[in-house]
């Protein structure tokens, strides 16, 4: 069972209940370290150095705070959200925080002993812990003031950054109390604020990193510079499983300017040079003979994604039950109106704009420093230790702000450059920064698996009466965390876990191994399965002569939360529009609707499309998102924009095609992603239903594709069951 899915299962229904005692006792973490040098505290020497590595929070004598975020910033705005949550309970304005990524190990495994940045988990898992952290720190500051002033702590209040004794009018800034507070015991059960009194949580505070990111000052892994380092570029075998036999012009390229050496790696050849461009120039000139090698998941030489799609479509085998209600098979046999359809979605690449890189440096004391992007630091440390032949305690991982991730930077065997950087640094005896070119990223990315599902459904005058689905394939959670068929949410989510009431349902998985090295892509299984399910649902509506919006409403009669959300997106769009219509600019347009229940949140989407020159154009997308409650509405809105962009992109144009065991695209020329002029207008309604907090980064995505595809069907009469739309002709 995968880490993400374990967490999702545990957290999906209820907020995480981290034992505060366990959290504090297990970590010893709640350290109030004032800024160094410490002012001497009465009666004792100043500590020489704050225990910085173990500290979540350092409150400095100048009144500012340093927060170490367990979660990695990659654009989603998590640093700002964490500062808001801690600041709220600490009563310190978030603008007074600086936030950095917490180092691997230590007390930061707040997801029950470990942590990762993914699964739209960060805010919902971090929320209770960060509140306790802030509240405990505030209580310690208050207690420090109470002792200094010889009054009861209960007589004291705080204003942002200041402890106040109203009786005497005395005031003390947090920075002046920090050193004394540090020596106090951590309170066992600090009182949390009444949410009605929240000052910053729920407020659209500006992101902390916008100026740095608007002026080129933000550094990423690819920008890391280490003294004495060499740069490396490499070329992977065109097909995974091949390995270099020889470089026939090795002497020639080793003589090129700046080149240090040619290095043979498992499945790749690298050039190490003084500069990256020198290494790149040399590796481009390399003439390499490839031969069959050893790989855990070698690509078959005749593999093609088109043939694999057909294999999945015809696959037979055990149907492992995922969800069942009533008697789907019996109802289908007896029903008058039964339809069948097969849906598929292609491999898609992550296409994060920062190409992968890793910098490795072996130190004289036997330790290894690593700089690289990653979404799961402790797992990467374990893998790096294994690659280097060291203990985990000898690995110093310097995590970097991510230039986009979308699932790219989990641990995926052949998709991460750090084992190669380690091998190169070892081979040349100097620090090495390895950068994968965009071409190498496409070649060794771990794409979202090609997926397929076979639907049978019956519909009556009041809506669907039976649904039987066989989802065929393999999810990334089975690949990487050995989740068995039927218990791998990533393989079926978006077809399983829907919120509609259909009395007779059977959802099953037929496992079929995917030859490619597959990975998590934004919204994971939901990113394709909701397209399939919601498309078929519209087909059922059409077969039953029902309006797709009204039919969905009736199927949600048992859930006020879902009904309201669907009604909300209808209102947001100005009222549901069932058929094609003429827009003000003279184009004929149509709208489609879809819903999704991803990552603990709920989403309802309406999309408006036209066809222009045979291509689908998406004009507007309305999203009603209910994550239960939100920390920063501005960040949530930005994440909806982002999710709509990626959802539109994969629906319109994205498809990673394999032929002869190799991807046919190696860059953005052959693998287009959404262009600026293809971006729809996005209208967002954030609904805070008060349900347990759900995710935000991914939930806006899954319903976008089916809303577009359903709109296209209404407009053109063409029912698209295979993405992307760009491979179909709408002329």
């Amino acid at each position: 069972m995968g880490v993400i899915d374990q967490l999702a299962r545990r957290l999906g229904q209820a907020p995480v209940n981290v034992s505060r005692r366990g959290f504090l006792a297990g970590s010893g973490a709640l350290v109030l370290a004032s800024a160094l040098p410490l002012r001497p505290v009465r009666g004792q020497e100043a500590a020489a150095e704050a225990p910085a590595v173990e500290a979540f929070l350092e409150l400095r004598s100048d009144g500012t705070a340093l927060l170490r975020s367990p979660f990695i910033e990659g654009g989603q705005g998590i640093f700002t959200a964490m500062a808001q949550i801690v600041g709220e309970e600490l009563d310190l304005a978030p603008e007074n925080f600086s936030v950095e990524i917490a180092p691997a190990g230590g007390p930061f495994g707040i997801m029950g002993g470990y942590r990762l940045t993914g699964g739209s988990m960060s805010t919902r898992t971090g929320y209770p812990v960060m509140r306790q952290l802030g509240a405990a720190a505030r209580a310690m500051l208050v207690e420090a003031a109470a002792r200094e002033w010889c009054v009861e702590a209960s007589e004291l209040t705080t204003e942002p950054g200041v402890v106040v004794h109203e009786g005497s009018g005395r005031r003390a800034a947090y920075g002046d109390l920090a050193a004394a507070a540090m020596n106090l015991p951590v309170p066992a059960a600090p009182a949390l604020k009444d949410p009605a009194d929240f000052r910053w949580i729920g407020t659209a505070l500006p992101r902390m990193d916008v100026r740095a990111k608007s002026t080129g000052q933000q550094n990423y892994a690819i920008d890391v510079e280490v003294e004495g380092m060499l740069l490396a570029a490499l070329r992977h075998a065109p097909r995974l499983g091949l390995t270099p036999a020889s470089v026939t012009n090795q002497a020639e390229i080793e003589a090129m300017r700046g080149v240090h050496s040619v290095q043979m790696l498992d499945g790749a050849v690298a050039v190490v040079a003084e500069k990256f461009w020198q290494a790149r120039r040399a590796i481009d000139a390399a003439e390499i003979d490839w031969t069959e090698g050893e790989a855990q998941w070698p690509m078959p030489a005749d593999f093609s994604s088109a043939a694999f799609r057909d294999t999945l479509a015809g696959a037979t085998g055990e149907v492992v039950e995922v969800e069942a209600a009533g008697d789907a098979v019996g109802t289908l046999e007896a029903a008058e109106t039964v339809i069948e359809a097969t849906y598929d979605a292609p491999y898609v690449a992550h296409g994060q704009l920062e190409p992968p890189s890793a910098t490795a440096r072996f130190n004289e004391d036997g330790t290894l420093d690593l700089w690289m992007p990653c979404q799961a630091p402790e797992m990467f440390v374990g893998a790096a230790a294994a690659a280097a032949g060291l203990e985990a305690s000898q690995i110093n991982l310097h995590q970097q702000v991510l230039g986009g991730f979308f699932g790219r930077h989990f641990l995926y065997a052949t998709a991460n450059p750090f084992p190669q950087a380690i091998a190169l640094a070892k081979a040349v005896g100097r620090p090495v920064k390895l950068i994968w070119t965009r071409e190498e990223d496409f070649l060794r990315d771990a794409p979202r698996p090609l997926g397929l599902a076979r639907f049978r459904g019956a519909v009556g005058p009041d809506g669907p009466t039976a649904l039987q689905v066989e989802v065929v394939g393999e999810g990334p959670t089975q690949r990487w965390y050995q989740a068995p068929p039927g218990q791998d949410p990533s393989a079926t989510e978006g077809i399983s876990g829907k919120s509609y009431a259909i009395a007779n349902t059977h959802i099953g998985q037929i496992f079929h191994a995917n030859p490619a090295v597959i990975g998590y892509w934004r919204a994971v299984g939901h990113s394709m399965h909701d397209f399939m399910y919601e498309g078929f649902l519209d087909e059922l509506a059409q077969a039953g002569g029902l309006d797709p919006f009204e039919m969905r409403l009736s199927m949600l009669s048992g859930s006020e939360r879902h009904r309201r959300l669907l009604e909300r997106v209808g209102e947001l769009s100005g009222g549901w529009t069932p058929g094609p219509f003429e827009a003000e600019d003279g184009t004929t347009r149509a709208r489609g609707v879809a819903m999704a229940s991803p990552f603990g949140s709920e989403a309802a989407v309406i999309a408006e499309v036209s066809v222009d020159g045979g291509e689908v154009r998406v004009h507007q997308v309305w999203v009603a998102l209910d994550p239960g409650q939100v920390v920063n509405p501005s960040t949530v809105e930005a994440q909806v924009q982002s999710a709509v962009a990626l959802g539109t992109s994969q629906t319109l144009v994205e498809e990673l095609v394999y032929e002869n065991g190799e991807p046919t695209a190696s860059n953005f020329d052959m693998y287009p992603i959404l262009r600026p002029d293809q971006m729809p207008q996005v209208h967002t309604a954030i609904v805070e239903s008060g349900a347990p907090m759900g995710g935000v980064g991914e939930p806006g995505l899954p319903a976008v594709g089916p809303a577009i595809v359903n709109a296209v069907a209404t407009l053109t009469g063409q029912r698209i069951r295979s993405l992307p739309l760009s491979k179909h002709d709408f002329g």
Binding site: V210, A638, A645, D669
Partner: protein, 148 residues
């Protein structure tokens, strides 16, 4: 060869066809200019050459000797550049931020040429890719400068 970058003349000793991107990043150590695709598709490497937004990943260094090259690090030294950055901050455009150096420079070039661009002007000039999908905020930020 000599290159005029950010108002100063730099003697750089590189192969003549080395892409300007790598001269800027590796010889000058200015890492605000980003490598994204290497084939002029994404625009993360955009710099201004005599005020024109240019994809430096495919621009040979020797082709721009004698021209005025400006990178993101000094964008705020011009009035338009300063206002564009301000608009980017006000509109909170960035998410991961990796493409934004190029976006800011593309907008600076556009607004220097056309103070009040039409939608078509914006479509024609703002072609850099953003995987986070900040396109609507980019457009809003460009508009806010033109309307200011």
């Amino acid at each position: 060869m000599q290159l005029n970058i950010n108002g100063a003349t730099h003697d750089v000793d590189v192969e003549p066809d080395t892409p300007l991107l790598w001269v800027i990043r590796e010889e000058l150590g200015l890492t605000g200019t980003k490598y994204g695709c290497g084939i002029a598709q994404c625009g993360a490497c955009t710099v201004l050459i005599d005020g024109v937004a240019t994809r430096s990943c495919v621009t040979p260094a020797d082709s721009v000797a004698g021209l005025e090259i400006r990178t993101i690090e000094t964008v705020e030294e011009t009035e338009i550049g300063r206002r564009v950055v301000e608009a980017w901050v006000e509109n909170e455009v960035a998410q991961c931020g990796y493409c934004q150096s190029g976006q800011v420079l593309a907008a600076t070039a556009l607004l220097s040429d056309i103070p009040n661009p039409t939608d078509a002007d914006i479509d024609g000039a703002m072609t850099n890719l953003c995987r986070c999908g900040t396109y609507n905020k980019i457009r809003a930020a460009v508009r806010s400068v033109s309307e200011a």
